[in-house]
Subunit: 211 residues, 2 copies
DNA sequence: GATGGATTTGACCAAGTGGTCAATTCGTCA
DNA sequence: TGACGAATTGACCACTTGGTCAAATCCATC
């Protein structure tokens, strides 16, 4: 300890402040997209003067890149849950469940991703074309192996993944709509649990080979 | 005919010009969202001076409202395809197919909707809470009737609709990503036909009662 | 308690924003 | 043809934008 406990150390203060700017940026980017977001609004939500924001992140784009980077990391971590099981039903249930949990726990990340795609993915295009494309094609092989073994019905794996991504991310990206359709109240934990179970169940029934 | 054929009449000229501004606005709003879109960019894509744009649409918001209005109309029209069949399999196949066709034929509409939801739906909130909520709850009743008759498995109808909406709209909203994952080429008509058929098939298998 | 780098921030700037307006041009019809 | 309303548009305005900067303040270390 190099400083008084009640006053944060210099480096700890930096981390806290950086994080508060970072979090404010996430929420503004998620709502308004890159172009619509303003550094003034981000600074306001972070509770710092705008000049201070530019001390920690030199440009709006640098801040945006920092935010997207974290999102891509989180995506890959959720994706790994697909690989921990050999059985199709278990692997898919784990993966879909993890994606649903992510949509619930961190909707902002999903929304920023969506907004980035909507504008043509200028920043994450490289990720899509390399890392994500490789992930998808290697998992396609796994799906095809299951098909060959007769464990699942014959499908085009990539369109199957699109359905999983679309359905799970919908609970984050369209939360406003879901809330409006739920008498103005966000889904309760119980409601979400039902939705989560049903999504897993429907996806599995859609692809598993009949007994 | 009140004017020379090669020179459009005054009112026809108005319609053409209004439409070119309207279409330019759709594409800019779809890419950049309401806040990110600029009237200058819309005017540029429409090929008219900015002052001219403001002659036809007094404000950016008026233009945006005109655009969203058309989208809501189109949504309702696709939704009606759900009601034309009594058999669950046929009704659902028609509805999902219509939504897929819409995502293919007019991806911009879907993207503007998505962007509007992302920012909290300030403009279409009323539509969501009234017209859409009513549509959903009346179709929920139809689904429950099918369930009571044992024609489909027991599910929470609204989450089932969310899956349909998410999956079909994904082909419009995430076209950039889908293209990036398809070696940089947009889905061909053949590929899309496969995706369309598979989406319908998977949705049906997920909900239809086993024989 | 003096030093010096890290941090903070009000004031500022050039470029871009949505929108206005008056002067001009156009098309129609008497 | 002339008159008159519809349509066009360059110039302009107040305000917001992302970003800069220099002066002030903080704080770990000696």
């Amino acid at each position: 300890m190099t400083s008084h406990p009640s006053r944060p150390s210099r480096s700890a203060g930096r981390e806290v402040k950086e994080k508060s700017i970072f979090d404010a940026a996430r929420s503004v980017f998620a709502e308004l997209g890159f172009r619509g977001a303003t550094t003034a609004e981000i600074a306001r939500r972070a509770g710092v003067p705008k000049a201070n924001l530019h001390y920690y992140f030199p440009t709006k784009e640098a801040l945006y890149r920092a935010v997207t980077e974290q999102i891509l990391t989180a995506w890959l971590s959720a994706a790994s849950s697909f690989d921990e099981q050999d059985d199709p039903a278990q692997a898919l249930a784990a993966y879909v469940g993890a994606k649903m949990d992510m949509a619930r726990a961190d909707p902002l990340g999903s929304r920023i991703w969506a907004s980035e795609i909507l504008r043509g993915a200028p920043v994450i295009r490289d990720f899509l074309e390399t890392t994500l494309a490789e992930w998808l094609s290697s998992r396609e092989k796994i799906i095809r192996r299951w098909m060959d073994r007769g464990q699942i019905r014959p499908v085009e794996p990539r369109y199957f993944f699109y359905m999983i991504w679309a359905t799970t991310q919908h609970y984050a990206d369209f939360e406003t709509q879901i809330t409006a359709l739920n008498r103005g109240k966000p889904l309760s934990d119980e409601q979400f649990a039902v939705a989560r179970a049903q999504v897993i169940d429907t996806v599995l029934r859609g692809i598993l080979a009949p007994i």
